[in-house]
Each structure stands twice: as C-alpha cells, then as structure tokens.
Amino acid sequence: MKFSEQWLREWVNPVLSREALAHQITMAGLEVDDVESVAAAFSGVIVAEVLDVVPHPDADKLRVCQVSDGQATWQIVCGAANVRTGLKVPMAQIGATLPGDFKIKKAKLRGVESNGMLCSEQELGLADSADGLFELPANAPVGQDIRAYLGLDDAIIDVDLTPNRSDCLSVMGIAREVAALNGMTFKPHEVPEVHFSINDEFPVHLDAPEACPRYVGRVIRNVDLSRPTPLWMVEKLRRSGIRSIDPAVDVTNFVMLELGQPMHAFDLAQLSGAIHVRFARAGETLTLLDGQTVTLDETTLVIADQQKVLAMAGVMGGEFSGVADGTRDLFLESAFFTPLTIVGKARNYGLHTDSSHRFERGVDSGHQRRAIERATRLLVDIVGGQPGPVVEMVSKPHLPVRDEIELRHQRVDDVLGIHLDRTRIEEILARLGVTVTRVTKEGWFFNVPSHRFDLSIEVDLIEEIGRIYGYNKLPVTEPKARLAIPSLPEDRLSVRALKQQLVGQGFREVVTYSFVDRESLRLLTPMHSTIELANPIASDMAVMRTTLIAGLIKAAGYNQNRQQTRLRLFETGLAFHSWQGEIVQEPKLAGLLAGGRLSEGWLSSKDKVDFFDLKGQVEALLALTGKRYQWRKGDHPALHPGQSAEILLDGAVVGIAGALHPQIVKSLDLNGPIFTFELCLNSIVKAKVPNFRGISKFPEIRRDLAIIIDKATDYADVSAVIAESAGESCVRHNLFDVYLGENLGADKKSLAVSIVWRNSERTLRDEEVTEAFNNVIKALEGRFGASLRS
C-alpha cells in the first residue's frame, strides 16, 4: 500500500517528522518498506504562461518563446513540440537548480538569447520519461512556485502489509491506526448524503446472497467525461502508483484508496433489465477490461444483467459494460463480496487487481453506502450529472457476524509480562474501535469493529494492547526455567562426539533432504518397502529415504559435477522404511569416501581411496567406543560383491561398509569408485567403561608364525582360533603379512602372524611358550588344513 504523506496528514496530523512517523508505523507492525520523496530536489521553478511562439531563425526544431512569470516577460528558446501560445508550463528561472544539480544560466542558443528553461516532467524528476513539456492546467496560478503548486514537498510511504491487516489498505485505515498510536481522536471525514435530483433507479438482485450480502448501486445521468480529472486527484493517485484514466475510473480508484472500498462504474446504456449478482454458469465467457477473454467456471461470482455477464465480481470489470468515451449515464457499484468468494479467483484466471487484493483479505462490510456517497459527490463535482437515489440490497443473515470476545485481565498481564490498569486497557482498545459490551469479574467482553477481520480470539486483543502500548516498551525479561542436570552416562557416547571424531578425520558433515527419488532407493535398498509421500514437492523427492547413502551419493554427484573429486562426507539422521505395515524409523550415521587418498601435494601419492581406507576410517571412528567390532564379508545389494562388509557388535549386525556397486555408480552417473558406510546410531553410541588392570613387570615373549591356507578363509576366523588355542597367557596376536604367489598355488595364501605371551605373576618359561605355540599350529592345521610355510 503506497500513499502520500500529505494525504495521510489531511486525515490525521501528529506532530512527528516524516522519519519518526514512518518509524512509528513500522513499530506498530505495519512495516514501512520505503519512504521516497515525491520529486527530486530542485528549486527556482515556477508556473509560467507562454505568451508568444515564433520559429527560431537558425534552427528548424527550436522555437523562440515569450513567457510570462506574472511580473515580467522572458525570452526562452525551447525545443519541445508541444509548446504553444497560452500553455501553462513549469519554467526554470535564471539561477534555478534542477535535479542532478543542474544550474540554469542565461544562454545563447544559435545566436538567440534564452533566459531560463521550460521543463518536462522528466526534467523535474517527476517521471522516468516525457514526450514534451509538462502541461499544467489552464487555471494554474502564474508565478507560483511549482513545488508549492503541485505539493511536491511530500513523500510516498510504502507500507508492506501483512495479509491480516486489510483494514489498512486505505488512507483512512492507516490514519485510524496512526491516530490510535498517538492517542489522537480519529474522526472519519464527513460524507454528506448527495440528494438525488432524478428518480431513476436500476434494479439489483442478490441471487447469491451468501457470496454478496450487500450491494449498493446508483444511477448518475448526463455526466461529461471529457472534463479533466483535477490535478490534486491525479497527483494523489500517482503517488499511490495509479495512473489517471478518465474521471469516472479515477474517482472509483480514489475512493478505493481513500476509504478502502473497491468500486466499479458501468456504462448504464450497456445494461439491460436488472443487475444480478450470481455465480457464473459453466462455459460463460467474459471479455475483461484488459482485453482478454476468459471462460468462467461455476465458482466464480459475477455481476450480470438479464442477458450477459458484465464483470467478474470483485476482480475486474468487463470491456463492453465499462465506461467509454461516449458514456453519458453511469451506474455506480459499491458492494461487499465475502473474502471466501473472492480468494484465489483472480489468481485462477491469472489476474491480480487492487480490487481482488482488498476483497480477498476483507473489506469493511458496513461501508458501502458511505463509499458510494463519497464517489457521487466527487463525480458530480468533476463531471456534473444528476444522481438518482441509492439502491441498497442487503441480505442481513449473510453479513459477517462478529462474536463478542472475552478478555481476562490476568491473561493480559501474563502474556505481556506487564500490568496495565483496567482503564488503560479499555482506552487502548477504544482507540482501535474495540468497545466494551460487558464487564465481568475477571475482565470484559468486547465487540470488534467490522473492518478488523483479524480480531477473533483473546490473544488477538492482547496483541493489539501490546502493539499500541508499544512492543519496545515491554520490559526485557530473561526467561526463567528450572533446569535439570542431564545425565550423561559413561557408557554412552554423544552423537556430537562421533561427529567431532569424523570431522577430525577430515570428513565434512552434509545435510540432505529426507525425501529422495524412488529410483535410487530401488537400486540401493531393494529389500525395503518405501514410504511414499502423499503430496511430494517434486518427483525426485517422492519417497522417504530408507538409507542416508541415497542423500550422500546425490551430494557426491553434485560435487563431482563441479570438479570437487576428493570427498569425505557424513550425515546423521533418520532413515525410514515400512515393515509389516508399520513405519520404522531409525537414526543412522552414514559416510562416503571418494577420490584421492591424500590431497594433492609434492610429497603425497596420487592413489585413490580403497576399501582399506574405508575400513580404517570406520575403525578409527568406532575406536571411540572402546568396544570390539567384528567385520565379516557381507552381501548388501548396494555394495560391490567383492568389497562388501558387515560390521557386528556382540554378534549383531550394526552396520555395513564397502564399495558402491559399479552398476549403481554407472546408472547414477557418478565417478567411481565410491566407498560408503552406514551404521545404526543407537548401537554405536554404546561405549565401554574402562576397567583397570595392572601392568605386568615380567617380560613378554613373541613367536612368529607363517601358514599357508586356503585363499577363501577369512582372517577373522583364523584370528578367533588363535585366540582360543594360544592359552591364557597370550596377550595379543597380529597379522603382519599376507602373501599370494604362484609358488603357493592359485587358491592358497600365506599369512604371517605374530603371537605374544606374558604372565602377570612370573616370567614364562620357554617350554610353556613352545607348547602354546604348537597348540596354535595344531588347531590351525585341524580347523583349516593349514600348513606351516617353510
């Protein structure tokens, strides 16, 4: 809503500077987007009259003019095509300064002296472009400063209103608000009834009273639309961003801006029989004022006569029933259409008008008669004519009813955090037109005015009290709460610690959507049934993720497409799938590695990451828990069959890790290899509480073992056999070499394991160790058919 500051001050004029006023309006919740001067800075420009025009002796396009400033006559050379004798124009005198600090001096143009300059709207900074001189009305007072004449020491205030404050979509509405904020009494301008001088009426039928409970109309005959709209009205409209068209349209727009009531003027000669306010019949068409023809549907309210549709109610008039050049007789409309009827209608037809903007947010339902009287007065003053009587059709049961709102005094105190006296509360609300109907033991019942569509419950009133009292004046109170010390059991890790660990390992956290595309889930987790969204925002965000890997590979693809190839990503969040009709949601931690093992450098190899980088990273993360995790060969469908592992804790699978299946890499258009893991967050936060054991004073004894074994045998199984056969004194064993070679045979491998023994009470004897060592060899021979490598 844009309006002129001066216009507002005609309604209510608080003793506040322009800036203070704008600030006050913003602070009251009506955000001022912009305060813009009506005209650029200039001085020394007055209203002048052209007395005589003769051609320039030496230039085709220039004219030599004699111009009067009311006291003297000046010779001015002018190049504008529309300069003519008798024209009133703005004249920049010698010594004037035009926008852009352009000084006017005495000059000679092709040998002819020029004592000033005649100006266009563009040259005065009033318009972005102009065809010629700014033609002033014939009654403009010669000699008056143009700034004073046009009221240019004004500003355009642009308020960005929230949708609930439709009552402020008019100068009167803003004025009411400003008056309330300053504790001033607000009195709407008197609108005296215009007495009818003819008896002509045009009948109106409310065929859809639930959508249009009030329709006020009036005939005005013998208007002269060739008369110009007065400059003051043109300027007010312009400052609200509305172009002047003809006096009838200008007046309806002016009343809309002034009082907030959208109006429409029909050419009475085009109407037949009676006005019917009804819903359109399917297939009816209407050619709108903007020239486009629309096919209406049955939910669209229209204004029709007995034969045809005339206008789309509350949105836009029709081309053929509108006011045109030859119009002599008018039918004025001032109606109340319910917001629900209008909301969304304009948009359905690709329209947005000042009228639909107001009706869909809510227009004061008690205001139609006042608006039509105001419009009649203005029209008769400008274009003459004889008004007929006002015809008002009302369907009382369909007018909006406002329930009383109860307000408890204690609630005001509780919500705002301050105590206000009864009288202060009553006074604040009274300023807004909210009146007491009943006083109760606890507070009041209030009636809200019909223009405040946004007030319906107790807190709405409390909000108003806070707003008018001043949010800025509410005391700053630190929130008080009883805080319990959270328990942080030692046997649980925080997710934050896990995240920090990964960041320390060079990973970066990503945040991806829980909604992913169906196709990638079909590839990644064909075993899970997915949960579809009822109303997805996009087709590639149609299902809930069953695995966080879906989001990670999308992020990886995004980065690979932008030349970021060395990736270490992780994410925590919920994964969802459906199991036996139930929704299962599980917190997960997933990660992804791709690209170089090390970032490029003179000392680092260019090798890419492999499975063991992945395993090392996951083990380093899990080391934080202090628990023993087992790795075994896995068969997850998303992973490469030869590089796929399951991670177990106490015998239960708690995660997977491996290379992304090459076919998935290919079909998702990624650059492989890509390594990924996903862990159940609830399992890996379990931590081991340390248990002290004394350090042995006695030496340890190490024996190395090299065995040849079937290639398919997992070291994890070998390791388990060693652990159980090496005796109680064995403290650790370690795989330190793996060898594959022709000489062993194609299906064999050689493992070299060191085994270390130690006793905490005495030094071990050599024979004891040898015996234990032989037991290990025997067990390995027996279990795996292993043979010692010679």
């Binding site: 955000e31 419950i457 909000e463 945040v511 991806t512 959507y513 980065n559």
Partner: protein, 67 residues
Amino acid sequence: MGRDSDGSIRWLEVMGCGWFILKYSEQLELIRKLREASPLVWALERLAMLRYGVNDLRMFFENDMRF
C-alpha cells in the same frame, strides 16, 4: 536491525513466532499442552548469514564442498 549506507535503519526478519489458534489446537492433545507457549521458529541459518556475510540461504543445503 542494521543501518543502510545512508544511515537509515533497516530491518530484516530473522525469526518468526506466532500463537496456536485454540480452536485447532484443542483438537490435538499434544499441542493443547503447549498452548500457553508461543512457538518460535528460529532459523540459525539466517543469523549465520548475517554473522558471516553469506548471501544465499540455499548454500547451507547444497552441500557444495567449496562452501
């Protein structure tokens, strides 16, 4: 709140808050318990944008490694 180049005060919304409407919230036991509270929507990204001069909110969710 900040100041423009010409010194005038400019506002930027960084948090929204509102009030549950009772007639809806009473249908929900969970929200009913909360109805004395005014929900705050606190988007950390907005504050981070101001603090660090990030000019596009979407960058927080693009997961671009260069960010």
